[in-house]
């Protein structure tokens, strides 16, 4: 609904709040017609005079009726990104740089994780939380590191909640995150086609088309997806301002989110935050379609395996042993 919680607290008179909180009332308003819906949107939550003057209302209106990201032309993408930047500036006084970089041709991202080298320092997890503006309140994390007994290979049997000095002798550490499957079950489960695989192999979510049904979370055999129950709480000074429409931009409440291989970085040739933060060099990232890339070296020369390979999901995330 157009009337967001924040605005209700700020701008809505008592009476209108009661009205707009009901979904049914809103749908009734919609059925009258586009014009009436417009009235509902505009009068349902009357913004302050300053907001109206600055065009915030117009921006929100245009944002509400935008298309699915995949149906947008580059021009429309630029426009919505510009609107989001302007809205962030108007509402929260933030200067964001949201991008909509397209996939790079002849690139298919792949990832490898060295289970011999990882020592469980969790620098990757901390870097990911910071880079992707993850909710500090609920402690959302895209990456999990499991402390494993020798001989185990299923993170489900490892300890994912350790907090003691690492590395512990005779244990090894195994990280999981979204594996960006080539044959991703999550994208097939989505009823609104709000999640899909980009040509460079990254499985992304259009946060504005996600309805928060969480079918994809149930479909993912790797527990790679996260649901946000509220808007993410990020301290202002820790906010990453370089964002991507499909990446670390502010997610509305009740949306699905996940690792995007740091799309805002990788599409500019940079390494994902986890790879850059890893102090042990356990994480290898690169272009699978480049025979000279490090990831191809690992696949060719190392003992590699993927998690739950028998499911046929084709993850582009390999574990390897030195």
């Amino acid at each position: 609904m157009s009337c967001k919680k924040r605005d209700q607290e700020k701008n809505c008179p008592e009476g209108t709040q009661q009205k707009t909180t009901s979904r049914r009332t809103f749908l009734k308003g919609m059925s009258v017609g586009a014009a009436a819906a417009g009235v509902a949107l505009t009068t349902g939550c009357v913004p302050g005079a300053d907001a109206a003057a600055s065009g915030e209302l117009k921006l929100r209106w245009q944002e509400f009726f935008k298309k699915n990201y995949r149906l947008m032309t580059q021009e429309e993408k630029d426009q919505t990104v510009a609107r989001l930047e302007r809205l962030a500036a108007l509402k929260d006084g933030l200067e964001l740089q949201i991008g909509s970089e397209p996939p790079i041709p002849q690139v298919l991202y792949g990832y490898a994780f060295n289970i011999t080298r990882c020592e469980g320092f969790m620098e990757c997890v901390a870097a990911c939380v910071k880079e992707n503006n993850l909710d500090r309140k609920t402690n959302t994390q895209y990456i999990r590191i499991f402390e494993m007994e020798p001989g185990q290979l299923d993170p489900g049997s490892g300890d994912g909640q350790y907090y003691h000095e690492v590395p512990v002798d005779n244990k090894f550490y195994m990280g999981t995150q979204c594996f960006h499957c080539e044959n991703a079950p999550c994208t097939k489960a989505c009823p609104t086609r709000a999640t899909w695989q980009e040509p460079d192999g990254i499985v992304v979510v259009d946060y504005d088309w996600c309805i928060g049904c969480r079918y994809c979370q149930a479909a993912c055999p790797y527990f790679g997806r996260r649901f946000n129950w509220g808007e993410s709480q990020v301290p202002r000074e820790e906010l990453t301002v370089k964002q991507h429409y499909l990446g670390n931009r502010k997610r509305p409440r009740g949306k699905m989110e996940k690792c995007t291989f740091c799309i805002q970085r990788t599409r500019k040739g940079r390494l994902p935050a986890c790879v850059e933060a890893c102090p042990t060099g356990s994480r290898v990232f690169g272009n699978l379609l480049d025979p000279d890339s490090e990831i191809r070296y690992v696949l060719k020369h190392k003992k590699v395996f993927r998690m739950k390979e028998e499911l046929g999901t084709e993850p582009k995330f390999w574990y390897f042993i030195d």
Partner: protein, 214 residues
């Protein structure tokens, strides 16, 4: 020899006998199951590409900010760069103290190199200074063949024992690239991550902790 009891099977019997065979053949004719097809398609596509990736299509790669040097090794026939080391050594150049004359001074060793704790090598046969440092020209390292090795190119020295790690490092399975997956290859030097005097990472608490998933 003719078997009198032999008779040709009827068409119906023949069909029944062939059914299991048909059940085996038909799926093969129809093509592999979807998951299988995806697998061959995806990895075949990856393997089939032999042309090097033209990094220039990634427009926004800038040179790394850290000082680098051109490596004296090759990576897949081409050159690559490593992070320089000398700038990080506090007392470099060593020859500013270690001249031809012996360095004398009260507690000089403790005051200048007291922070160096050697924890490198197996117990009982731990390394000592001159295993790696050149004892005549102090600005250089020295390997077991007596070659002078620059501090920036310590991988040449480390690789004489840690040859497996060096092989992996050259290929990209050990160590890591700096900042970019695209563009010119710049990698961490051995000494960027490892303290050469105590190369094993110290035990410490993790940077954060995880809570159970919802």
């Amino acid at each position: 020899m003719k078997n009198s009891r032999f008779r040709y099977p009827s068409a119906r019997e023949m069909l029944l006998r062939l059914l299991p065979l048909l059940a085996l053949i038909l799926p093969v004719l129809a093509g592999p199951p979807p998951g299988f097809a995806e697998e061959t398609k995806f990895l075949d596509r990856v393997k089939s590409i032999d042309e090097p990736f033209d990094g220039r299509v990634v427009g926004q790669v800038r040179p790394v900010v850290q000082p680098t040097v051109l490596a004296k090794e090759s990576y897949k026939g081409g050159s690559f760069r490593v992070l320089a080391r000398k700038q990080a050594i506090e007392r470099y150049k060593c020859s500013s103290c270690h001249t031809n004359k012996e360095v004398r001074g009260k507690n000089a060793l403790v005051l200048t190199h007291g922070n160096v704790v050697i924890n490198h090598g197996q117990e009982g046969s731990a390394l000592i200074c001159i295993d790696c440092h050149n004892h005549e020209e102090f600005d250089y390292l020295e390997d077991k063949k007596g070659r002078k090795i620059d501090f920036d190119h310590s991988y040449q020295l480390c690789g004489q024992c840690h040859f497996r790690q060096k092989r992996d490092w050259l290929g990209g399975a050990h160590g890591k690239r700096v900042s970019y997956w695209a563009g010119d290859r710049v990698v961490f030097n051995c000494t960027t991550c490892h303290d050469p005097h105590a190369p094993k990472f110290a035990k410490r608490f993790p940077a954060t902790y995880s809570v159970p998933l919802d």
